[in-house]
Structure formats: structure tokens, C-alpha cells
């Protein structure tokens, strides 16, 4: 039997890197510096990115009996995951040392989670998708609780695990029902079945689709299954929170786009109206609750709920107009959110989280670079031009208008207005208030600055010259058959 390993190359690269990190870790004494592990991880991620760039043509390949595919869509998301992993590792080098998190395991788990995500975006079979999802999730359950001396982290980890298991149950039931109705877990065969016999679907097939949707809504943290998000995001180590709110969300949306928007799209009519309501409720509730927060980290958690709501707009709008907007928005969202969390990470000090608005007071003139970058990220998240967040939102709202969902566009922009209130509060604290944290804790490593700078450049670039990324998003989405 011929085995085509090409589609797996980036995943294998990251996996091997993770194993190298684990093994190398064994040969370093507990009290010696372990920066070299971060270096290995970054090199591995860079190699994987190079491989993605080489593979990035219009090829369509599959492996393992059609259960893993290689297309521009998978590669696009692989790029996002690699970027998120790299920025997360860059910004956590100093953080893990301060918080005495085991470095070897930390980096390896990030890489393992990345492998799971890459496979999620490439999975063309519900079983492979499920395995990939679990690979990612289990790594993240551990990452969330890795700061063992922090009670909040343990609580968050437990909560995340229970809620994740709950969502997994929904997904698995959904997969089982779909398998029962169509006789396959392969997406191509399911798709063929749906197109072959329109309207003769058994009720439990539709039920299976609904269960999948519920599972996904859980994973992206949309209303009404959003309750775990603030606690988990708040309790997890800050770099991990950034990783979760970007990469996990992107992975869930990647699988959603491939499975529900593309292959199972004949079923979509049934869940569109509930999703319409969920999208609106998610944006509105996320934004309203974010306004009331006193901790910036918690505010960002609620803001990530709100952004999940914006991201649901292109899904409701449908394949024809929404695909490009969904992918491009995820790309812009990655840069600005990772940047914001990198800034937050760099403010954290041992035993002292520095996550409240009051800790940001006066930062604008004590740490001009960090504050400037944070302002960029906040303005971008709020949707001010010419930053990435604006172009991203513009294409989301454009897709809604083009598809005739004017109401979604209007509710979306009104929500942006709400979000301005709390994003600007960070800027108010940094530039318009005095006091706050003293300079003592501000001896960050240059790596955090590096991560912040990369994210800031990305935020500006995607805002001013988005054209290449837009074309790429479009190509990627339309490489789904």
C-alpha cells in the first residue's frame, strides 16, 4: 500500500520537535537554565512554516484513505497555529521561569497541542478530527493547570477538563449518529450521501448534525455555552490564555468550516436560525460583560467571547460570501490577540499577576513601547482603521451585507461601539492615569518584546496592506471542494 506522507509533513515536523524537546529536557539538570528548549521549539516551528510555504501550491492531496487532506485551507490554518505557537513560546520564556513552571513539559505540550490543531484543520474524517481534537484538548487541560502553586490555575484546569469532556460527549454522539445514518465517518462519503438522497434523511442524522453544532459552540465558547471561558482564561497562565483564545478558537473554526460549512452544508438549513441567534447573543453578551470587568485578563476573556460572536457572522452568512471573511478575520484576530496577551504576560511578575486596569496606570510613559503596542492592539480589537481589526471586521460586515443579512451587520457594528468602551479603558489607564505598578518588575526578557513587535507589525500590515492576505484567505477557502 502506498502511503502518501506529504500531507503530514508539517505535523510530523512539529511532533518530532516536541519529542526532541522532551528528550533533551531529560539531560538538563533541574536548576540549570533551559532556554535552549525554547530555541529548539522555535526552530522546529520555523522549519514547519518553511515546509508549509513549500507545500503552498494549488495541490489537493490526501492520505490514509482520504482521512487527511492537504489543501490550501489546511495550510492556511497550519500557518496560523504555527504563528500562535511561536509567539506564545516567545512570550513565555521569561514567564515560565518566574512562575517555576516546568519548561520542558510546557514547550512540549504547546507543540503537542499544535500537532492536534494542524490535524484538526486537515482532517477529512470525523474520527481523525475527533482524535486531533482530543490531542489538542488534553495538552491544553494540562497547560492550563501547569502553574501548580496557583489555586486559580488548578481550578481552571479542572473546569476546563470537565467542560471539555462534556463538549466531547456531544461531538462523539453527533459523530455516532451521523455514522449510523450515512454508514461512514469519511466526510467525502457523508457528503456524497447527503447529495445523493436529498430529503430522505432520517431524523437522527439531523440530530447528529445538531449535536456537532452544540459541540463546536462549546469549543469556541459561544453563548449559551460560554460559562467556562472567563474562569478558564482567567486562571490559566497568561501565555496559555493567549494561545487558547487564538489557536484553539482557530482550530475549532477550521474544523467547523470544513465539516459543517462545507461537507455537511446540505444540512445547514436546519441550524442556521439558532446560529443566527447564538451569534447575536454571543457578541452582545460578551461585550456587555466585558464592560463590567476590572481585570484586563478577564476583559480579554469576555472580548474573546464577543469575537467568537463576530466570527459566527460569516458562518451564518454562508459559504458563498462568508468563507473569505471568516479566514481573514481569524488571521487578523490572531495577531492582535496574541499581541495583547504578550503585553499582559510581560507585565506579570512572580506571585503578582498585574492584570488589573490599575496595574496599567501610567504605563504609557513608563514603558512607551509596550504601551504603544498595547494601544495598537486595543484599537485594532475595537475596530479602528487602519489596523487589522478594522479590515477584518469590514470584511465580516461586508459578507453579511452581500448575503442580505443587513440586520447582522447593524447589530455587529453596534456591538463594536460597545466594545470601544472597554478597549479604550486600557488606553485611559495607560496614558491618562497616574501611578500603578512600580518599575521594579519590569525586567522582561527581550523575547517578549520580540513577540509584541511581531504582533504589532502584523496588526499594522494587515490593516494597511491586507491585499495579499485577503487573496490568500480566498484561495484557501475555495480550496475546499
Amino acid at each position: 500500500m502506498d502511503v502518501n506522507l506529504t500531507p503530514l509533513v508539517p505535523a510530523i515536523q512539529v511532533l518530532v520537535t516536541a519529542l526532541v524537546v522532551v528528550v533533551r529536557d531529560l539531560f538538563i539538570d533541574e536548576d540549570e537554565p533551559k532556554g535552549v528548549l525554547a530555541f529548539y521549539s522555535l526552530v522546529g516551528l520555523a522549519l514547519a512554516a518553511a515546509e508549509v510555504a513549500v507545500l503552498l501550491t494549488d495541490r489537493q492531496e490526501s492520505a490514509f484513505a482520504d482521512s487527511i487532506v492537504l489543501d490550501n485551507f489546511a495550510l492556511f490554518f497550519t500557518m496560523i497555529f504555527l504563528l500562535a505557537a511561536a509567539l506564545t513560546i516567545l512570550s513565555s520564556i521569561h514567564y515560565v521561569r518566574q512562575t517555576r513552571i516546568h519548561e520542558g513539559e510546557f514547550y512540549a505540550l504547546i507543540l503537542f497541542a499544535t500537532v492536534g490543531m494542524i490535524l484538526m484543520a486537515a482532517a477529512n474524517d470525523l474520527m481523525v478530527f475527533f482524535l486531533a481534537l482530543e490531542t489538542m484538548s488534553i495538552a491544553l487541560y494540562v497547560l492550563t493547570g501547569m502553574w501548580r502553586s496557583s489555586g486559580r490555575a488548578s481550578e481552571a484546569s479542572m473546569k476546563y477538563f470537565l467542560m471539555g469532556a462534556f463538549a466531547t460527549g456531544f461531538l462523539l454522539y453527533g459523530i455516532a449518529l451521523i455514522y449510523g445514518a450515512t454508514g461512514s465517518t469519511n466526510l467525502n462519503q457523508i457528503s456524497a450521501y447527503l447529495l445523493d438522497q436529498p430529503s430522505e434523511w432520517p431524523l437522527y442524522l439531523i440530530g447528529g448534525g445538531f449535536l456537532l453544532v452544540i459541540g463546536f459552540v462549546f469549543k469556541i465558547g459561544a453563548v449559551p455555552f460560554h460559562f467556562w471561558v472567563p474562569d478558564v482564561y482567567d486562571g490559566a497562565p497568561t501565555p496559555v490564555t493567549g494561545f487558547m483564545s487564538v489557536a484553539v478558537k482557530a482550530a475549532a473554526f477550521a474544523a467547523w468550516a470544513r465539516i459543517l460549512m462545507n461537507k455537511l452544508s446540505p444540512l445547514a438549513g436546519d441550524w442556521m436560525f439558532p446560529l443566527w441567534i447564538i451569534a447575536i447573543a454571543t457578541m452582545t453578551l460578551g461585550n456587555l460583560l466585558a464592560i463590567t470587568q476590572t481585570s484586563v485578563k478577564r476583559m480579554l476573556a469576555y472580548s474573546s467571547i464577543a469575537h467568537a460572536g463576530y466570527l459566527l457572522i460569516p458562518i451564518v452568512v454562508g459559504v458563498e460570501w462568508g468563507g473569505l471573511a471568516l479566514l481573514f478575520y481569524l488571521l487578523t484576530y490572531s495577531f492582535m490577540t496574541l499581541g495583547a496577551f504578550a503585553v499582559l504576560t510581560s507585565l506579570s511578575e512572580d506571585k503578582e499577576p498585574r492584570e488589573n486596569y490599575s496595574d496599567f496606570a501610567g504605563l504609557g510613559f513608563k514603558r512607551p513601547f509596550l504601551a504603544l503596542a498595547m494601544s495598537l492592539f486595543m484599537l485594532s480589537l475595537a475596530g479602528f482603521p487602519p489596523l487589522a481589526g478594522f479590515t477584518g471586521k469590514f470584511y465580516v460586515f461586508r459578507s453579511a451585507v452581500l448575503a442580505g443579512h443587513l440586520n447582522l451587520a447593524i447589530i455587529g457594528v453596534l456591538n463594536s461601539l460597545l466594545s470601544v468602551i472597554y478597549y479604550l479603558r486600557v488606553i485611559v489607564a495607560m496614558y491618562m492615569e497616574e501611578g500603578g505598578a512600580e518599575g521594579k518588575g519590569f525586567r522582561q526578557s527581550p523575547f517578549v518584546y520580540c513577540a509584541v513587535a511581531i504582533a504589532a507589525i502584523g496588526t499594522l500590515y494587515l490593516g494597511i496592506l491586507p491585499h495579499i492576505a485577503l487573496s490568500w484567505s480566498r484561495l484557501a477557502f475555495f480550496s475546499l471542494e
Binding site: 488606553i427 491585499h467 480566498r474
Partner: protein
């Protein structure tokens, strides 16, 4: 046709940004160098805009200096710039006021580097909004202006600065975000009707939408612009923002930012949706007249000079809107002229208030009195500017108000008559303020040690005063350059005769060869 080089307007937008980038590289401690760079950049921009004025061809009303570059070509978004007789003088007003405002910021000692950077970015935002001819690009500049202004009020403002800054941003964004949806919808409708997805303003002018769609779109645009003007019920952000902003911020806010609202009506809302605009005119006119009277009455009651000037802006901008609503040559020309007048005279008033505030750290009218004896130069300048503001013949305010009332009277004589009483009210509150500040006994001992204006302060005020007199005596060069563009706009808005797109044959074919 003048030979206008490609890139003239881009350079106009780029000079302040380059200045800001240079400032970013300079060390924070060298405040004199920072000032010189900012002043140099803004003054250089002014000289460059004079060059544009010089090359401007007054014989026709089409866009000139047009630049057109594909930005996101697959999505119909282009980088299109151009000026005509309407935007030309607003651009000049901006470039003139900006160096003066920077010069007036001498008293800002705190965080001067960031302050100057924001001023320069603000200049680019405003100029960009005046010259952008692509709706997407216009929206970008329109929002870009918000951020520096937010910082200027929020960081360097008065005691309630954070509240005022947030209110300013939220109000403006509330309108503009709905405008964004309207812009997208408009482009979508255009794509459905013509198969071309574009945000090009001149293309979109040709679109003839059914009345009900026009009404919704007009409403979204008009709301955004009405908040900016500000038209009567949407004005509440203005006194807060004005009072809390630093002097230069108030000058720019009153001098330029508010004009973007009225400019938006004339350039975007009215010609894009002519039927809806004409249907809405009586309502807007009523709001404008209410604003005139309301602003004047509230201004009369103020005890703070800055607040008084802020409310007088509500009143004056009501006149501008009234002129626009007349939709005839006199009215619209008068409105544009009055925009310039208001920019100059209110700008000068805020500068003068700032100068006296720097000395006394109070703006309460009761704290002054008899300044004439101690500061004769200051007092006489304040008097001249006040006369300009209330429309004394021979000064610029008279020309604008007269044209507006003339134009509006032929359309709505009753409203115009009511508005004319606003002129009288304006004279009352301004002169009453003057009497209490300048004349009377010099009773307050603190005022007896006041120094008169310095050379720097005179330098700031001199160009404005010269223009106030010049524009009052000899308005012809200004009006002549506006006229063709205003006529063209009116033709678009009034749509006579109701011919489809090629209303003006030189429009479509003209840009390419104009660009080179």
C-alpha cells in the same frame, strides 16, 4: 488645464506623517527640537497647500489633482484623492490652523513628544478626509482622526478630560459605524445594478436608487455627519469636548473637525442620495434653525468663556447647515464661506481664551473686567475677532452670513427670519461677554499684573486677523474658485434634468488625463 503632478495630494498627506515619524525618533528631552520639527512639518505642509492653490484651475468644478491607485483591487477599494473648489479652501484652512495651533501649544510642557505626534497625525487624518474620493478611504480617514483627538483631549485636557474624551469618541463612532454599513450596502447595490464593485465616489454619484433605500442610506450618513457638525439634538458632546480639550485641541476641533460634518453633507450625503436629501431638507433646516437659537441662548447664559465660545459654535454651524439646505448658489457658497469664517474666528477666539487662561488659569467671565487698561493689544484683537464672529460688515463673517440668509430666504422665508434673530442674539452674547471681560473697572487685583501679548502670540494671531479682514473686504477670489464646484454639486443634488449618470460629460473621461 494646469499640469498637476501626480502625488501632490499624497505628499500633502505624507508630510505630517513623516514629521511624526521623525518626532518618534527624537529623544524626549530635547523639547525645542521636537517643537521645531513639528512646526516645520506643519508649516511645510501649509506651503505645499499654497502650491496646490496656485496650481488649482478655477475655471471648472471637477476634481483636480486626482490620484488613483488600486488598493484592494479584487474588492473595488481604491486610493483616490482629489480636490475641487469645495474642499480646496477647507484643506487650506486645515494646513493654516495646524502650525498656529502647534505654535500656541508652547505652554504644553508635559509629554510634549506624544502631543506633537498626535497633532501631526490628526492633521493627516483631517486632510485625508477632505481629499478622499473613495468611500472606504474616506471612512478610514474619518475614523483615523478620532484617535489622536481622543488622546489630545484625554491626556492633555482639563479635569473632566477622560469623560469628555470618551463621550467624544462614542458619539462620533455611533454615527460613523452605521455609516460604514451604509457604505457597504451602497457599494453592494451598485455592484448588483452595474456588476462593478466599487467605492469610487464619482461612480456612486451616478447610482439612482429607489426612494426608500435612499432614505435609509441618507439617514445613516446624515446621522454620522449631524453628530459631527453638530446639529441640534446631537450636540451634547461638543461643550464637554471643547471645554476639556487643550487650547490647540479646541482650535482644531472647532476650526476643522466640525467642518467635516458639513462637508460630509455637501460632498456625500446630499449628492449620493438626492431624492432623500430633498425630502429631508425641511427637517434638517428646522434642526439647524433650532440649533442657531438654542446655541445662542445657551451661550448667553455661560459663565465660562470657553463654554460660551463652544455653544456659539453650535449656533454658527446651524447657519452653515441652513445655507446648505437652501440648495442654491448663494446659500451653499455662503455656507462654505461661513465654514472658513467660523474656522478662523472661532479658532482665534479659542487661541485668545487660551492666552488669557495661560496667564490667569481661569476662564470665568466674572474673574475678569477692565482688561482694556492692562492689555490693550489683547483687548483690541479680541474685539476685532468678536466683530468678525458676529458678522460686522467689512469683516469675513458678514459675507458668509449675508449669503446664507440671502440664499435661504428665497427657499424658506419664515425659517430665515427666525434664523436672522440668531444674528442679533449672537451680537448680544458676544458683546455682553466683551463688556464684562474687557471693559469696566479693573477691580480684580490679580488682573492688574497681567502682561500683554508677546511676540509669539502676536505671530500666531496675525495671519488669522489678516485673513479675517481680507476675506471680509475681498471675497471674490474665494467665491470664484468655489462657484463651479458648487454648481456641479447642486446639479447632482437637484438632478435637473433627471438624466442618468452622464450628467456631466467631462466627469468620467477627465480623471485619467488630469492625473498625469
Amino acid at each position: 488645464m494646469t499640469a498637476a503632478g501626480f502625488g501632490d495630494l499624497t505628499l500633502l498627506l505624507a508630510i505630517p506623517v513623516l514629521g511624526a515619524a521623525l518626532l518618534l525618533c527624537l529623544p524626549r528631552r530635547r523639547s525645542a527640537a521636537l517643537f521645531s520639527v513639528a512646526l516645520g512639518a506643519s508649516a511645510g505642509d501649509f506651503l505645499w497647500s499654497l502650491n496646490i492653490l496656485n496650481l488649482f484651475d478655477p475655471s471648472h468644478g471637477n476634481m483636480q489633482f486626482v490620484e488613483r491607485v488600486a488598493w484592494m483591487p479584487d474588492f473595488g477599494i481604491q486610493y483616490i484623492l482629489g480636490v475641487d473648489g469645495i474642499s480646496l479652501f477647507l484643506v487650506l484652512l486645515t494646513t493654516l490652523l495646524m502650525p498656529l495651533a502647534i505654535l500656541a501649544s508652547w505652554s504644553v510642557k508635559d509629554k510634549i513628544k506624544e502631543y506633537l505626534i498626535f497633532m501631526l497625525l490628526l492633521e493627516t487624518g483631517m486632510l485625508g478626509a477632505f481629499v478622499a474620493l473613495d468611500l472606504f478611504l474616506f471612512y478610514v480617514f474619518w475614523e483615523v482622526m478620532l484617535v489622536p483627538m481622543y488622546f489630545l483631549i484625554g491626556v492633555w485636557g482639563g479635569p473632566r478630560r477622560i469623560y469628555a474624551a470618551l463621550k467624544f469618541v462614542i458619539y462620533t463612532m455611533a454615527g460613523s459605524l452605521l455609516m460604514l454599513v451604509a457604505i457597504i450596502y451602497l457599494a453592494t447595490r451598485h455592484a448588483q445594478l452595474t456588476q462593478v464593485f466599487t467605492f469610487d465616489l464619482l461612480e456612486l454619484y451616478g447610482l439612482n436608487l429607489p426612494f426608500d433605500q435612499q432614505s435609509w442610506l441618507f439617514l445613516a450618513f446624515a446621522l454620522s455627519f449631524a453628530i459631527k457638525v453638530p446639529l441640534f439634538p446631537f450636540h451634547t458632546w461638543l461643550p464637554d469636548a471643547h471645554v476639556e480639550a487643550p487650547t490647540a485641541g479646541s482650535v482644531i476641533l472647532a476650526g476643522v473637525l466640525l467642518k467635516l460634518g458639513t462637508y460630509g453633507f455637501l460632498r456625500f450625503a446630499m449628492p449620493l442620495f438626492p431624492d432623500a436629501a430633498q425630502a429631508a431638507l425641511p427637517g434638517i433646516m428646522a434642526l439647524a434653525v433650532i440649533g442657531i437659537i438654542y446655541g445662542a441662548v445657551v451661550a448667553m447664559m455661560q459663565s465660562d468663556i470657553k463654554k460660551l465660545v463652544a455653544y456659539s459654535s453650535v449656533s454658527h454651524l446651524g447657519f452653515v447647515m441652513l445655507g446648505l439646505c437652501a440648495l442654491n448658489l448663494q446659500g451653499v457658497q455662503g455656507a462654505i464661506y461661513q465654514m472658513l469664517n467660523h474656522g478662523l474666528s472661532t479658532g482665534a477666539l479659542f487661541l485668545l481664551v487660551g492666552m488669557i487662561y495661560d496667564r490667569r488659569h481661569t476662564r470665568r467671565i466674572d474673574d475678569f473686567g477692565g482688561l482694556w487698561q492692562q492689555m490693550p493689544v489683547f483687548s483690541s484683537l479680541l474685539l476685532i475677532v468678536t466683530f468678525a464672529s458676529i458678522g460686522l460688515p467689512g469683516l469675513n463673517g458678514f459675507v458668509g452670513e449675508f449669503l446664507i440668509l440671502l440664499g435661504a430666504f428665497s427657499v424658506a422665508p419664515v425659517w430665515t427670519a427666525v434664523a436672522a434673530t440668531g444674528v442679533i442674539l449672537g451680537a448680544i452674547y458676544m458683546l455682553w461677554m466683551i463688556r464684562r471681560v474687557i471693559f469696566g473697572p479693573l477691580s480684580n487685583p490679580e488682573n492688574q499684573r497681567l502682561q500683554d501679548l508677546s511676540g509669539r502670540e502676536l505671530t500666531i494671531l496675525a495671519p488669522i486677523l489678516l485673513l479675517i479682514v481680507y476675506m471680509g473686504v475681498y471675497p471674490q477670489p474665494f467665491l470664484a474658485r468655489m462657484k463651479p464646484a458648487v454648481e456641479l454639486s447642486l446639479k447632482r443634488i437637484l438632478n435637473v434634468p433627471p438624466a442618468p449618470p452622464p450628467v456631466d460629460p467631462n466627469l468620467g473621461g477627465e480623471q485619467p488625463n488630469d492625473g498625469r
